[in-house]
Symmetry: none
Subunit: 208 residues, 4 copies
Amino acid sequence: MIKQTKGRVLGRPKSKDKTAPTNEVILQAATRLFFENGFQKVSVDDIAKAAGMTKATVYYYFDTKAILFTETIVSLMRRIRERIVQILSPDKPLYDRLFDVTIAHLQATTSIDLEGFMRESRSSLSEEQIQEMRMAEEEMYKSIEEAFLTAIEAGEIPAINAKFAAHSYIALVKVGNYKQSDGTTFFQSVEETAKNIMDVFWRGFFGK
Amino acid sequence: MIKQTKGRVLGRPKSKDKTAPTNEVILQAATRLFFENGFQKVSVDDIAKAAGMTKATVYYYFDTKAILFTETIVSLMRRIRERIVQILSPDKPLYDRLFDVTIAHLQATTSIDLEGFMRESRSSLSEEQIQEMRMAEEEMYKSIEEAFLTAIEAGEIPAINAKFAAHSYIALVKVGNYKQSDGTTFFQSVEETAKNIMDVFWRGFFGK
Amino acid sequence: MIKQTKGRVLGRPKSKDKTAPTNEVILQAATRLFFENGFQKVSVDDIAKAAGMTKATVYYYFDTKAILFTETIVSLMRRIRERIVQILSPDKPLYDRLFDVTIAHLQATTSIDLEGFMRESRSSLSEEQIQEMRMAEEEMYKSIEEAFLTAIEAGEIPAINAKFAAHSYIALVKVGNYKQSDGTTFFQSVEETAKNIMDVFWRGFFGK
Amino acid sequence: MIKQTKGRVLGRPKSKDKTAPTNEVILQAATRLFFENGFQKVSVDDIAKAAGMTKATVYYYFDTKAILFTETIVSLMRRIRERIVQILSPDKPLYDRLFDVTIAHLQATTSIDLEGFMRESRSSLSEEQIQEMRMAEEEMYKSIEEAFLTAIEAGEIPAINAKFAAHSYIALVKVGNYKQSDGTTFFQSVEETAKNIMDVFWRGFFGK
DNA sequence: GATGAATGAGGTTTCATTCAT
DNA sequence: CATGAATGAAACCTCATTCAT
């Protein structure tokens, strides 16, 4: 208890090499770890180590673990949304553009599923943080919803409940990512999977 | 004079006096807590308190938290499977029977989503435990798959990839449970939701 | 992060020897440490080590450090109060009984001063905890106040503001405990100190 | 053309422009915070923020927290001492001058009590720092002691132990600052309080 | 069967201090 | 002068697990 501070060597270490901004490095490490192991299981220390720095440095950039987590999710959702918007932008039939999105997601590693994260982190996050994540998620869905609405207005497809369609579409894409207990998938190739998903979805909502 | 201790009748108590066996009580409490807060966030003490006993008692019945969790999940999956099988058994058109399953799930409180649970508990469970949970999940899916296979054999519906259809079906039902950030759902009533889901699914897989 | 629990040797260690009840042992150690170093400076670990056990054991008995601190103070105040009551009870002139109390306190090691403790712990304690401590302190003062009131009623001393007198008395006794920077005290012996304090107090309140 | 950067006049700013020197600003903030929350509870960051600057700047002026604390206390004691000396200097009877000091202290917000500070900071300060604080405290007491000695020499009051009297006097004044748990004080007004304290003190040391 | 007592390990957060700019 | 960035150390508290009764 009685500890007189004796000249320790603390403080910022001497170094010169410029790298990526520290907070980006942290977010990157955090994203990977949180998505692999969930909110509770990943410690701030884990993130710090993965980012090549000290716990205290992580806390210098993000006041709490909950904030770091929220920003991680929000930033990821934003990236996904941007990717979707980009893939949906070309001047092609909606079917073809959706097909491209499907392929892209079947190839991506990270699932988009917020549900599980919400459950395990809910009690550790503030109401605002939960709202923030939820909104980012909805923005992501909205990017697809809007493609439907535009196509409806343009007369390309019949009128449907666009929000429900967007969620249904993502749900089906996630089915495509499912791996059974023996490790096999429903179809042989990504293309075949995408084809089947698109068929079910398209027929389901627009008939033939 | 015959003295009765604390007004308790002598002899073996009649079955009415009996409360549920302790391990069932634990499983019940555990199910609720795990589903509300996830694996990591729920402590064995939480479960014990919710079950009205001490931690040590829980450990008397379940050797580790991981085992308790696994049994919780497996037992839940089994219950869901049984429920599905039961609803699917009457001698009615497949569409009608599936419709009933849909209604039942839209009314149920617990989501069936294992994904989130797997992520956050994976590193705390043994390989066998993970397998056990996965198998229970697949059994659940299989109960639907088999309804498809039987209907195909009977010529009631055209041949499809039954496993993929089962997963797609559950995925769409889960969409029906989605609540947006403002608390609203896609449709007004459970019936309307079920109708829309069934329409998309049925058209998607069997055309008209 | 990925840490599979491998048969560690935890839990209650095997032992047989009966000693004092654990919570008493903790309170004792805590009292000493808190009084030597103050609330903030003493860590729960320090207390645990001083009490010959683990931090976790301390937390098993006292939910938070603030609670432990509060109980420590309250129990100490109670002990002091009891001591005072006891010394004040014999059938002797008030002057003589107060003299005895003075002697007792000049010989005691612990100061009765709550002020400093309040300041440094205030922001860490709940409103109720602060009240609890304050009340225990007032009870202590009241034990002296009552001696005055009784003596006034009995006509042994003239009427005075008993509460003010009690606080003044304790304040003067604390002066007697003061050690100057060179380590010396105002008077040579405890008796001489007590005599001077009592003279000033008695004359100050009752004239001759 | 002469360009003036950001509308600032050239040359050394007139004294009106000058704000208080930075180290004074720090000391001021530190004084307030330390007195409200004690040594341990106040972080250097708290002080920096309260002073409107960064932690590093505080460290530019004060090498360690312990040094800053010591200077804070010493400077405060010095200020109190000066105030006392000033109030005691007029050519009036000692009783009247002491009465003025009493009033001044009852109105002041900061208690003079070093005891609590010593306890909680002792183990963090060097021996010299503790000595420095103690000496500043004694200087403060000495300012009163000397008033007694002068009055004794002048034959205004009988011979007494002046050091003991000075401490007793301060102790009684502190009693006047005491607030009970219900927030009330012993007397209605500051004047009434001062009158009672002075009466007890004066009678106690000089009889009638 | 059931429980009270105990503990090792670890998790989140704070903080005094340092250094390069 | 002043500051942003970084860190080692430690503090509070939680928890899965064990053992004697």
